[in-house]
């Protein structure tokens, strides 16, 4: 057969081995071309009497198939505006049904079809194997099998929502599909997703042996007496599964993610009908989902943009690649210790400097405690711990910094201290070394004044806890040069985090935008809105924490101090209502925040949130308002942050919508279903967003006043992704 994406090999027994090998890609992805070829293959296998069976495997050693080509799909989702939505939907539906037709041909070809899964099989890749009568997978525990679509706002549209429940039951299937969790080969075997596990070298032979045994070439769901494992929604067990799953889904997703909702409906409705009807149901939900802005935005930000940034999209193209082998970390506190840990984890030697050797050792102990927790959870081993810690060299001697390629300063947030450390360090490090500050608040340009070589001075802002937060915000000072940026990005990629690049400003991009969220919560409190409502609606808007809970974590005393400093800086006298309130909390009531167990909430000894402080609830004599419009409150929370991001664009703090969106979601948990603040504004439309801001400004305060950039964009009907179109390399 003449195939582009597969290699065809028929053996003497009449068994065809079809080796998947997409040209020009390092990993197989399920392209539309491959689907057409699978249909051809199915027809040939069905009609050619010399063919006794089919084994599908991969010619690429790293993966069976990584899933559908999402870049093809983004093209689909955003393609031409000329077609009416109905026609676009119908065309997409036909396309999906063609895929189902091809897969149905394969599983009903009348001859045994086996999948020899020699590497990861995700999404569409796994779905192809589900259309085989037999699945055997290599015994490599690193192999992942799963349907991760929900993580990027999609649903498995290749029959996954129909075939997985029919194989493993609704409960297991929902767990796997709703969360997009993957399983390893042993787990897959245990739940019945695959039939056998074997060493890689034996896979194809074992699959052929299965075929030679003349097995039943009929899928379970095509047999007359088929019943859904665990029972359908109107059996007693199944009823409970669906009832609880519906409630838990709302509990966890707040109704913000159409993908999960549609997955639930696909599984529910599909479980009550034959497979062909089930596939039609899934296809309709899939197409409907593609037409929701949430899925397009999530694919773009959480998959495509994150992948691009993770490959160094923002790196200066011409700068030579640096391999950071040794890094110096200044300050061995929690941040310094965390930075030392993630660096050592990626094979980088770390010189960890603090004022005394005891303090420096404490930083390494912090790294050790992080690994200990992972050992407890079975994610690391004592051997790995020893190896990682052996790369961290605590010292009180700046001279030890001589060999470093990069220095990351993580000392106390005080300009004088930072300046002194900069001088001491530059006296020791090599002329080529890059100096970075992990400051979260102080402008880089100012800090660089202490440097003899400000073009080699940059900000590398980590988030806490360093070991778990995937984002790093790289800050360009006025004089920061391209080589410093390239080195910073090379380092961030080496420690497998996602870098965004921003220009200097107080609070940079992330802290500055996030601050508006808590301030909005405080404003609502001042309006008399019930604290529980502020917190619940904040989470319902998609934020990871209520605004008051964030205040508790940051410290209400800190907020009070900042408020007073700002007032002083602006030369204002007297106290406003906000300051009165903060002062009442901190100074009158002794509730500075979570660190003392007392803030807006009461906390237990372990710092776990217990309940809102009862005296706060009873403090308002006229009672708290509960009549505020919930949707409007959500809009206020998301709008004020997005507006601040728009201001960052106008001021040039941020220049690329990918940075804005990925940075917001990974950095401070901005509602992921929106795709990030620039996607949020783009989806609403600049004109509508400006109108909303003006409405909010007139009712809730000047802080909502839209900036000139947005007005300009509204007038010209522009989007962030259009006006600030990222420079993309040809795929």
């Amino acid at each position: 057969m003449n195939l582009t994406n597969f290699k065809w090999d028929q053996d003497a027994d009449g068994i065809v081995t079809l080796a998947w090998d997409v040209p020009g890609r390092t990993m197989n992805v399920l392209t539309s071309a491959a689907v057409r070829e699978i249909a051809q293959v199915a027809e040939t296998v069905a009609s050619d009497a010399t063919i006794k069976g089919l084994v599908i495997t991969s010619a690429k050693s790293n993966a069976f198939c990584a899933g559908a080509a999402l870049d093809e799909m983004e093209g689909n989702a955003s393609s031409s505006a000329k077609v009416s939505p109905e026609d676009a939907a119908a065309a997409r539906y036909q396309g999906v049904m063609q895929f189902h037709g091809a897969m149905r041909k394969l599983e009903t070809c009348g001859k045994p079809v086996a999948a020899a899964i020699n590497g990861l099989a995700l999404g569409g890749g796994l779905e192809v194997t589900l259309c085989c009568h037999y699945r055997i997978v290599a015994d490599n525990p690193k192999i992942q099998l799963g349907l991760p679509e929900a993580k990027v706002g999609l649903l498995p549209g290749g029959g996954g929502t129909q075939r997985v429940p029919r194989l493993v039951g609704a409960m297991q299937a929902l767990q796997m599909i709703l969360k997009g969790e993957t399983v390893d080969p042993q787990k897959a075997l245990a739940i019945g997703l695959v039939h056998a596990v074997a060493p890689t070298a034996e896979l194809v032979e074992r699959a052929k042996a299965w075929i030679r045994n003349k097995p039943d070439a009929v899928q379970p769901w095509d047999k007359k007496d088929f019943k859904l494992p665990g029972g359908g929604p109107y059996s007693s067990g199944g009823g409970q599964v669906f009832t609880m799953a519906n409630a838990m889904l709302r509990k966890e997703s707040y109704g913000n993610y159409p993908a999960q909702r549609y997955i639930m409906s696909c599984v529910y409705e599909g479980s009550l009908v034959p497979i062909d009807a089930g596939l039609r149901i899934e296809a309709r939900y899939f197409v409907k989902l593609l037409m929701q802005p949430e899925s397009r935005n999530m694919i773009r930000s959480l998959f495509l943009s994150m992948q691009e940034l993770g490959k160094g999209a923002r790196r200066p193209k011409d700068a030579a690649k640096t391999d950071v082998r040794t890094v110096g970390v200044l300050g061995a506190g929690v941040m310094g210790g965390g930075i030392a840990y993630v660096s050592a984890l990626s094979g980088i030697d770390v010189v960890l400097v603090d004022t005394t050797i005891e303090r420096a050792n404490a930083g390494r102990d912090h790294a050790a405690s992080v690994i200990d927790r992972q050992i407890e959870r079975g994610k690391s081993t004592p051997e790995k711990k020893a190896e990682i810690l052996s790369r961290i060299h605590p010292t009180a001697d700046f001279m030890a910094l001589k060999p470093v390629d990069l220095v990351i300063e993580a000392v106390f947030e005080d300009r004088a201290i930072k300046a002194e450390v900069t001088k001491k360090t530059e006296a020791e490090i090599g002329a080529e070394a890059i100096y970075a500050s992990n400051t979260s608040t102080l402008p880089i340009t100012g800090l660089a004044e202490a440097s003899m070589r400000p073009e080699q001075f940059i900000g590398i802002h980590f988030f806490s806890p360093v070991d778990r937060m995937g984002l790093v915000e790289i800050i360009m000072g006025k004089k920061t040069g391209e080589r410093a940026l390239a080195t910073a990005i090379d380092y961030v990629l080496k420690i497998r985090k996602t870098p965004i690049v921003v220009n200097d400003s107080r609070g940079f991009y992330t802290s500055r935008c996030f601050g508006t969220y808590t301030r909005e919560g405080m404003a609502m409190l001042a309006e008399g809105i019930h604290p529980a409502m502020i917190e619940n609606v904040g989470r319902m808007a998609g934020m990871p924490m209520g605004a008051l809970e964030v205040m508790d974590s940051v410290g209400i005393d800190t907020a009070l101090r900042v408020t007073r400093e700002t007032r002083k800086a602006l030369g204002q006298t007297g106290r406003d209502a906000a300051e009165e309130f903060l002062s009442w909390m901190v100074e009158t009531s002794g509730r500075p925040g979570r660190k003392t167990g007392k803030g807006f909430y009461d906390y237990d000894a372990k710092g776990k949130r217990q309940r809102l402080w009862p005296d706060l609830i009873s403090s308002r004599k006229e009672g708290w308002r509960t009549d505020a419009d919930v949707d409007e409150m959500k809009a206020r929370f998301l709008t004020i942050q997005a507006l601040e991001a728009a201001r960052c664009f106008e001021e040039g703090v941020i220049t690329d919508p990918r940075d804005a969106d990925v940075g917001a979601i990974l950095g401070w948990g901005y509602a992921p279903f929106t795709g990030g603040p620039s996607s949020y504004i783009d989806t609403l439309g600049a004109a509508a967003f400006v109108k909303r801001c003006e409405d909010f400004a007139s009712r809730f305060g000047e802080r909502f006043k839209p900036n000139q950039l947005l007005r300009d964009m509204a007038e010209k009907n522009q989007t962030f992704y259009g006006r600030f179109a990222p420079q993309k390399e040809a795929a």
Partner: protein, 402 residues
């Protein structure tokens, strides 16, 4: 519009809705049959005068399925010409059946009808008829499905009813029911359930706990705390009512309606049909209504439907002498009294479902008999029967003495 009169109302006693309940060995069909026979025999009724029998059943499956109203007509040896239909308005089914049977008369399309209801909760089981609401993601999601008990606890949380408040209400329900039984207030409508030998199987409400006290109720654990927390329903309810930080779970078996078996029937007719058969009208149906309310909290329909039906009747809440509101959960009744500012002295004067039980499809029709008897006993002029209804509804009917 033709006037519709209540000529008679009967009910079975309520048997504990468990395997050891007295009525567990009696079929649902037989319960319905015995109420129809009682209506016929007490009134020397020529059943060929009856046009239709409307019965409410909440779980109309198995032995209660396939239009049990028509089967009961046949089993009770009514004239072959009497039609039967089974309807479902969840907990208000018995009252809705009465209203629909009345509507046939008021619209001039029937002369004489019987409304009623039956539920054998011990034999068929609550929830046996399934339904899409909790399981179909589309509707579960859209309507913030939570089980009723969570809604009842949510009402208590929002309205500030404490555990003591709801328990005190429950104790009062028991006291009133015990007093009513002791003084024979129910004897006019209750017809004992008999076996085929004519022996009495049950002649009293079996679920009552007249010895219940604040102390004894205090030992009961909240029924909905666990599913609220672990199945995620509290979180669902809070997303619908975000002003709530935490749901205060106050309801338990002792301050919620009891699970019981029973049936009831109400004989209705226009003036002429009654005169022809020599019957004396006992009450007139003045107005009735149903209404939809917010489905997540589910149980706030009574106040809304009361206002609606009063408006229809051109009356105010003070024009009503007696209220019978089904005691699905204590908070439902407390909220109704609070919202409409109604004195407990004229509401559920003989106790309610917390004491005597709530045979889902039958209760509404049972309350008709209870309230008509009580209007006569205390010579009251007007009464309203109303119930909260699943999926967020309420149904109410206003009766007048003739």
């Amino acid at each position: 519009m033709t006037e519709c009169f209540v000529y008679d109302a009967v009910r079975t006693p309520r048997g504990k809705g468990k395997k050891d309940g007295a009525l567990h060995e009696v079929t649902a069909l037989e319960l319905a049959t015995q109420t129809l026979r009682a209506v016929r025999d007490r009134n020397h009724l020529d059943t060929s005068a009856v046009d239709d029998v409307v019965f409410g059943v909440v779980d109309p499956v198995g032995e209660a399925g396939a239009d049990i109203a028509r089967l009961a007509v046949l089993n009770a040896d009514y004239a072959e010409s009497v039609a039967g239909v089974q309807i479902n308005r969840f907990c208000a089914s018995g009252l809705e059946a009465t209203n629909m049977a009345a509507a046939e008369i008021m619209s001039g399309q029937s002369e004489m009808t019987i409304g009623g209801g039956v539920e054998s909760m011990s034999r068929v089981g609550m929830g046996a008829s399934g339904g899409a609401w909790p399981v179909d993601p589309q509707i579960a999601y859209k309507s913030y499905f939570t089980p009723q008990g969570i809604g009842a606890d949510l009402i208590a949380t929002l309205d500030g009813f404490s555990r003591d408040d709801v328990d005190a209400f429950a104790v009062e329900s028991q006291t009133r029911a015990a007093n009513a039984w002791k003084n024979g207030y129910f004897k006019n409508s209750v017809v004992p359930v008999k076996d085929i030998l004519g022996q009495t199987i049950l002649d009293r409400d079996e679920h009552m706990r007249p010895d219940a006290s604040m102390q004894s109720l205090a030992s009961l654990r909240p029924s909905f705390e666990q599913i609220g927390e672990f199945a995620g329903f509290d979180a669902v309810a809070i997303q619908r009512y975000p002003q709530v930080e935490k749901i205060n779970h106050v309801h338990h078996a002792g301050n919620s309606s009891g699970i019981v078996d029973g049936a009831a029937a109400v004989l209705l007719g226009n003036k002429e049909a009654g005169a022809r058969t020599g019957l004396k009208p006992r009450a007139r149906i003045r107005a009735f209504a149903s209404i939809g309310s917010e489905p997540c909290i589910m149980l706030t329909g009574p106040a809304l439907v009361a206002e609606k039906v009063l408006r229809r009747a051109g009356m105010t809440k003070d024009d009503i002498d007696l209220y019978e509101l089904n005691e699905a959960f204590a908070s439902v009744v407390l909220r109704f009294m609070k919202v409409l500012d109604i004195d407990h002295a004229k509401l559920n004067v003989n106790g309610g479902a917390i004491a005597m039980g709530h045979p889902l499809g039958a209760t509404g029709a049972m309350l008709v008999g209870t309230v008509v008897d009580e209007m006569e006993r205390r010579n009251a002029e007007t009464a309203m029967v109303l119930l909260c209804v699943g999926a967020g509804m309420g149904t109410a009917t206003i009766f007048e003495r003739v």
